[in-house]
């Protein structure tokens, strides 16, 4: 797994900071064309063949950060024109994720390769262990016949010299649902019917070629027009910073939001409704229910495990309930969900109460552009403090725990956690689907409440976090502990 702070994620944030700064100065359309030159300067060391190539790719990145689609990229159109289009846009548009063709490395198809560490030894465990007879020794080295090879990896596991390596395609490898494949030009292509917007590919592509469409420009535009812009911050957003509760609220107000609602309050509503729904379903004789707060998971069920669809809770997500609170308390406001999740951006496009969704990276860029130090912001705690359980929604296991806390009779509960929808997670999900469809037997150990989070570790490990999930977990724990227990 790529670490969170790498040159690709840094570049993303540098572009966002520059866009936000220009916009606050009222110079977005005038100054945006300078960004590629600033980030690929004449005296720098180019990443690609030359600075002109770098600049052209950055130009594409800027377009995506402006929230414009790369699908209908127009070579003739200036960045200033894209900026104008972004500033005049009424509503954000999908798809939330796209491939930046120019940045895509067109990685060679995933394969096993024999390196020159091969000694063509006497034992030849690669050859002996290959069930497909895909290996022969030629010119003093093992050779893999790609026609016969089925990528089982036995040769790699058995070579005493570590001479055989696997060359993966990182985005394809990261995608749990097989939604990414090579197009005719060798570049990657997303099948949006299969894609669950988990954001794994975006996090794992070493070339930063999987790119999300930002909505930050839209949010700043409303701030500058003095609209009531309400920040709905997810518990995973709070867990990014090492600060006392309330400071993030203060920093958000200083950054230009008019009001702040903790999404953990929405999580409390989700948990209480989900607990009631669970009790009711079990009473009706249903055997299984799953959580529904992770939109990547819900999409995974819809597109890939339809046998499980009837089990997905009908309760809405914390984001939805938090937006409901905001729209009720602050009529005519613009709601902005802030979290580390790409799938939420897609969920936001379909939820009338959620106007915009921005990532943690975008929130960070907003703070940097405005020169706000979160650690020094005056604490402005909300009027109502969520429960520890509501705040713990951001970690794996937290949602099941919260449902349990709101359940009157916990003896009926047998929970299971699917921590992360990687390929193994999808397999487990498919098994539960089969159990529900009756094609696999139900046993005494079969759970009746299944919590699923697409990101391993929970939302604190989402694709757009800025803090290592391990650190975020300890910060989340502190944040949760200061919650107020439901009486």
């Amino acid at each position: 797994m790529l670490n969170i702070n790498n040159n690709s994620s840094r570049l993303k944030k540098e572009i966002l900071v520059r866009i936000a700064r220009l916009q606050f100065e009222g110079k977005l359309a005038d100054g945006v064309h300078n960004i590629p030159r600033e980030l690929a300067p004449p005296n720098g060391t180019p990443i690609r063949c030359c600075m002109y190539h770098d600049r052209e790719i950055i130009r594409h990145r800027v377009i995506a950060r402006l929230g414009c689609g790369l699908e209908d990229y127009d070579d003739e159109k200036r960045l200033s024109e894209y900026a104008e289009a972004a500033l005049n846009r009424e509503k954000p548009v999908g798809p939330v994720l796209t491939v930046l063709d120019l940045a895509c490395n067109s990685c060679v198809r995933s394969h096993f390769m024999v390196t020159n560490a091969c000694q063509a030894c006497l034992a030849r465990p690669c050859l002996v262990n290959c069930g497909k007879k895909a290996i022969e020794i030629k010119n003093g080295r093992a050779c893999i016949d790609s026609e016969k090879c089925v990528s089982c990896g036995l040769c790699l596991q058995n070579c005493p010299y570590h001479a055989i390596i696997k060359i993966p395609v990182p985005c394809e490898e990261a995608c749990p649902v097989g939604a990414i494949a090579k197009g005719e030009n060798g570049r990657e292509h997303i099948d949006y019917d299969k894609c669950i917007s988990c954001g794994n590919c975006m996090r794992e592509c070493p070339f930063g070629a999987m790119i999300d469409k930002s909505q930050l420009v839209d949010v700043i535009k409303h701030m500058m027009a003095d609209k009531k812009v309400v920040a709905l911050y997810a518990p995973a957003a709070a867990a990014q910073f090492r600060i006392e509760p309330g400071r993030l609220d203060g920093a958000l107000l200083a950054a230009g939001f008019s009001n702040v609602v903790e999404v953990a309050l929405g999580a409390d509503i989700t948990a209480s409704k989900e607990a009631a729904e669970f009790a009711e379903r079990m009473e009706k004789g249903e055997k299984m229910m799953t959580t529904s707060c992770c939109p990547a998971y819900v999409r995974a069920v819809r597109e890939h495990v339809p046998e499980l669809l009837s089990c997905v809770s009908d309760t809405r997500t914390p984001m939805h309930y938090a937006a409901e609170i905001a729209k009720r308390e602050f009529p005519d406001c613009v709601t902005v969900f802030i979290g580390p999740c790409l799938a939420k951006r897609r969920e936001g496009l379909d939820d009338d109460l959620v106007d915009y969704v921005i990532s943690i990276e975008e929130l960070g860029a907003l703070f940097v552009a405005r020169g706000i130090d979160v650690t020094k912001a005056a604490p402005v705690p909300g009027k109502k403090i969520p429960t520890p359980e509501g705040r713990n929604f951001a970690k794996s296991g937290g949602v099941a725990q919260a449902v349990k806390a709101f359940l009157k009779d916990t003896s009926i509960l047998k929970e299971a956690i699917i921590d992360g929808l990687d390929k193994a997670g999808m397999k487990r999900l498919a098994e539960f689907g089969k159990i529900n469809a009756g094609t696999l037997p139900r046993t005494d150990d079969t759970p009746n409440l299944i919590e699923v989070m697409a990101c391993q570790g929970g939302c604190i490990a989402g694709p757009s976090v800025i803090t290592n999930p391990k650190v975020a977990l300890s910060q989340l724990t502190k944040y949760a502990e200061s919650g107020v227990r439901a009486s």
């Binding site: 994620s9 910073f241 860029a365 650690t375």
Partner: protein
């Protein structure tokens, strides 16, 4: 022997631009350096706003000070390399 002081800026600009990773420095420090340094976290040390620093300051966050000397675009590896040089 006097210990080297590593002062990590935890101001938001540094934190957002990659400084969050430096919170793991303590954990990821190679054994040979463990006893010769002292790690401190500090509120914003102000380099991002200091025009005298030269280059476009905020663009070179995150910042770390090692015995008072500023390391820009700091990563764990960069800090370790710097400490190795000092300790050589």
């Amino acid at each position: 022997m006097k210990k080297h002081t590593v002062n990590i800026c935890t101001g938001t600009t540094c934190f957002v631009m990659g400084g969050s990773e430096l919170l793991l420095l303590d954990e990821l420090l190679p054994d040979d350096l463990k006893d010769v340094i002292e790690i401190k976290g500090s509120p914003c040390i102000g380099i991002c706003k200091n025009a005298d620093y030269g280059k476009a300051q905020a663009d070179h966050a995150p910042f770390v000070q090692i015995d008072g000397e500023v390391v820009d675009e700091a990563s764990i590896q960069k800090v370790v390399d710097h400490l190795r040089r000092l300790n050589a």
